[in-house]
Symmetry: C3
Subunit: 226 residues, 3 copies
């Protein structure tokens, strides 16, 4: 078992890593849209820090984390600028990135849930904080980048974050040691996401049934408002 | 006249009802997009609690309401899951939903305005809080769901919320009793929205005039920036 | 040199001016989308106050500025309503608007950076606050208006805001007098944006290179997740 200080440092380092990986995914969307360098920096930064920012605002933990410690902004800018100038990323690296992103996802899901518990929120709120931290950076990236948002895709992404966050909260409720709970929850989230990447898993979509064909739904959608 | 406690309980119950109805509309967008079950839960929840969340953040009333009381998250998740597994919703039910949503709209417009007054905000701010609570859940739903946002549509929706919130604020300023002001304002918002549903009312759109044809505007739009 | 009181009043007046100009750009998007009058008011208001709102939330300076002083909401509503009823805006006025917007951009970039420094944030955070205040109103406008977001465009807009905010922060760090630093930073941001308008400058977009053609990126984009 690691001593507490070392463990805390490890978490900080891994959190930085996650922010940087998310920033890369933002910069790659910028490259796909052929933005200029400031588009790269803006989209990379928003993606890197977006999830944690929404979490902090919801919890009322203000100012948000990157106002308290500006190095997060610097990391995102440097990473996005680097991607802008990188000659090309070979296909094998995209695959690597996908796996690094899975590490980031698993990590911030657990860290987000822990922040929720630390703020004395209920277990459902804590799990939600894990999901927000893991998913909202990508959601904001997709909305600003003009792409179909993450939640429309049926990849197992939010699911992995939710599973990890839920396990962490459950273990903490039963009095498990913090480091152990984090490690177990991280592993579960990472394995689920990893299997989804490896075997291209996805969850079943909603299937229209008799009396509710896509056409019906589309037409009704117009009425249905609200 | 109801005693104060009973009245407060009634407001809480009706607020729950509104959150649940809004969550259904989010889940229905998810069904139209054929998302998986977590897409339903995410979009249903964001729609159910989105308006109140933006309101709480603007007022600085943090953490937001669903962090303080996690049952709102549970309601949204249960409702969205139920919609996912429901075999089909017959068309008559969509019509019912439209009317339930009108009740929700009228209710949260008044509650939102009251929260604004309770925070000692000015009357214009209080009315704005009513509109935010009623409309922003749907706006976020549409942006995340990749649909044309509510405010682009010319249905009388924001108008009804604004009328209800404005009447409530005006009555409170003149010293009317709180319960009576709420009931009157709710009725006005509901009737306006109801008439719009029943008779398919809409407000006149902006009409391009000589020298400002849509083509001109579109072209200039590019210059005119930001 | 102006006395301090007069200078503070001047800043307030100019800030109002910026909010009004931004609200006009929001109302013009509403006119392009042929919204009704409440669409004009909603989109105009969100554009006018959006950047400052995001800044205040990030800094934890709550309630946000327009809750403390409701006249900002009134200005935005009046301006948007005026645009709705204005018979037509001749093309020469669009050009004028473009230049007024440049003034607004330069001004709020400096004011935003100052708010950051006033909140004891680091220099990078302060610059970011300037960029947020200048750019996020337009970003929210474009997302809600269903248009291609500001950051996808390669105009020199964010760049001008960043340059002005950075110069202001640098001058303040070296102990320059506040009014002088503001004037210099404003001028730099305005000149950069003005030159971009006048000569239709833009920054180089990301260029796909060998082994990373747009098709590759698009295809990989699907894999790449996250």
């Amino acid at each position: 078992m690691l001593p507490n200080d070392l463990f805390a440092s490890l978490v900080v380092v891994l959190e930085w890593f996650s922010v940087a990986v998310f920033a890369i995914t933002g910069a790659l969307v910028a490259s796909r849209k052929q933005m200029d360098i400031f588009g790269f920096v803006l989209l990379g930064t928003v993606t890197g820090i977006g999830g944690g920012t929404v979490r902090d605002v919801m919890l009322g933990d203000l100012p948000v984390f990157w106002v308290k410690d500006q190095s997060y902004l610097i990391v995102c800018s440097v990473v996005a600028t680097f991607i802008y100038f990188t000659a090309h990323i070979p296909q094998s690296r995209y695959r690597l990135l996908l796996w690094l992103d899975a590490v980031g996802l698993a990590l911030v899901a657990v860290i987000g849930a822990e922040r929720g518990l630390a703020a004395n929120a209920g277990p459902v709120v804590a799990i939600t904080m894990g999901v927000i931290t893991a998913a909202f950076g990508g959601i904001i990236r997709d909305v600003l980048g003009g792409e179909s948002p993450l939640i429309l895709r049926r990849e197992i992404y939010v699911t992995a974050a939710m599973a990890g966050a839920a396990l962490f909260v459950a273990l903490m409720e039963t009095g498990a040691p913090r480091a152990g709970a984090m490690a177990a929850a991280f592993s579960v989230a990472f394995v689920i996401r990893g299997l989804a990447i490896r075997y291209e898993w996805s969850l079943p979509p909603y299937k229209p049934r008799a009396g509710r064909t896509p056409e019906d739904i589309a037409r009704l959608g117009r009425d249905e408002k609200p």
